[in-house]
Symmetry: C2
Amino acid sequence: MSIPDNDRRLDVFRGARVLITGGLGFIGSTLARRLATLGADVLIVDSLIPEYGGNLFNIAGFEDRVSVNISDIRDIYGLKHLLKGRQYLFNLAGQTSHLDSMAEPVIDLEINCRAQLTLLEACRQVAPDIKIVFASTRQIYGRPAYLPVDERHPLHPVDVNGVNKMAGEAYHILYHEVYGIRACALRLTNTYGPRMRIKDARQTFVGIWVRAVLEGKPFEVWGGDQLRDFTYVDDAVDAFLLAATTDAAAGRVFNVGGEEVVSLRELADALVAANGSGRYVVREFPAERKRIDIGDYYAADSLFRETVQWRARVPLAEGLQRTLAFFRENLERYL
Amino acid sequence: MSIPDNDRRLDVFRGARVLITGGLGFIGSTLARRLATLGADVLIVDSLIPEYGGNLFNIAGFEDRVSVNISDIRDIYGLKHLLKGRQYLFNLAGQTSHLDSMAEPVIDLEINCRAQLTLLEACRQVAPDIKIVFASTRQIYGRPAYLPVDERHPLHPVDVNGVNKMAGEAYHILYHEVYGIRACALRLTNTYGPRMRIKDARQTFVGIWVRAVLEGKPFEVWGGDQLRDFTYVDDAVDAFLLAATTDAAAGRVFNVGGEEVVSLRELADALVAANGSGRYVVREFPAERKRIDIGDYYAADSLFRETVQWRARVPLAEGLQRTLAFFRENLERYL
């Protein structure tokens, strides 16, 4: 259902030397597997910090087709070495938990802000021709002032993570404008699918919902009426690949959304239907999350669709089924 | 010409325990002197890093009326101690040079970004009732999409300094929204006056112009047609004082502009006229600055004027005369 591997635009990846930061994580590993299938020379960098998304099982079956370097993007000397000779950088390493960013704001800054700046400096020094696609987030918009949210919407982060991601994204665009580094940024919305973190809500609340239905336990829906859009991971991977191959994307920021807009309650119902069983309870928003809740969000992503000829292809119901099938098979690897 | 010291709004500063970061710098020291005159208990923190604005001569005559602690805002343990019991924080410490931010991006990040976050964390822990006014900058707007620039204008920094200042400002607003810290931010335009840095252009190009005319040398005007607004330092100090005393300012971001909009060439003519002599040459923009040039800029600051009942009072011609008179007397202290 994703763009077919015989799409000629993907030919550039055959033999291409690719670096993926956060490449053992949810989206990063899916991207790594896809790139390996396309014939790329894939080097993964991942810190395997337990609270983050990295999981060696994410590349099961691909151990001989990708290279893995366990290291932290805060280690700029190591990264500078690893960057040499790389043609593409998919830059997905990051701290993603909003609550962790409030509890440990400086750690979030070191990873999402400082390490991004030093990474770009390293690119400027040792790989100035590299093409970079940076994983940004819709979180930096904060509470939408209008819907759907396009790229001109003001940025008003509601947590430390959002401020740092906003800065991390801005460095990428700046390094394009000042130094000609071919970087672009994708503001991802809720991405879900096989290999996402399900042991807790650090990456996405959808993860703990999936775990609960597979374990036969009720899950909690906070609020329930909030509207959201969702991107299936294969569609997100397509977005990264196509952004990297599109010259006109350089120096630009794009929303990446989904096909459908649903309420959290509708998502819960769709998940239960996809699983064939399950139940949930609707709860009031917990106080500590209420202050960083953003209400409804869904993206206008026509700029991205038109610029790189991408579209979301996997319908929500099918994406949920594929997600459940994966975790039904591999649940213990993700707990 | 600034708001009179008998303005009743300033009564709150009598005996108030005030901390000024960057308090030996241009604006910080002018603020410190004013606050001491108003009867405040003033504690200055300044790193005296030679490339920045701090200069002990800036508090000449006030050595017994203010306390000075030479330390760096990156030293969060020291700062946490110094913050205890303080009621007002005027947060002006920062790296201001755009070229230095490109040459040493991580240092700029440590000061303008990381230290701001740790400072706010310290306030949250030891001084949660403190009122903070943060010195932000119009630089974060980048090249204006429309004029005059109001606070809704998109942020598009053109250098590393701008990205870091944008993040530093955003932390302040976030800590208001999440933790109730009473912080606001003033996006300053070109501020000039006695005690500004004149030995180089790290703080403002106006500084090296002033130095040149006083030394009888020609100064360079790059371009010349760019429009700018200018704030005399006493007006900027009024802006900080009134923002701190206005409850409605908390959590908000304000432009602070000036009364007049002039081209750089008109400013050059005004400076020569104020001095009674001097000459300048108009030059092409140097290549290394061209990429970070922002064209015309002037602020819409009616939001600030209305919210805190402030206005710029010192006309440009008079401000330049006062500036020249100060440096004519004290030139060797600033070289």
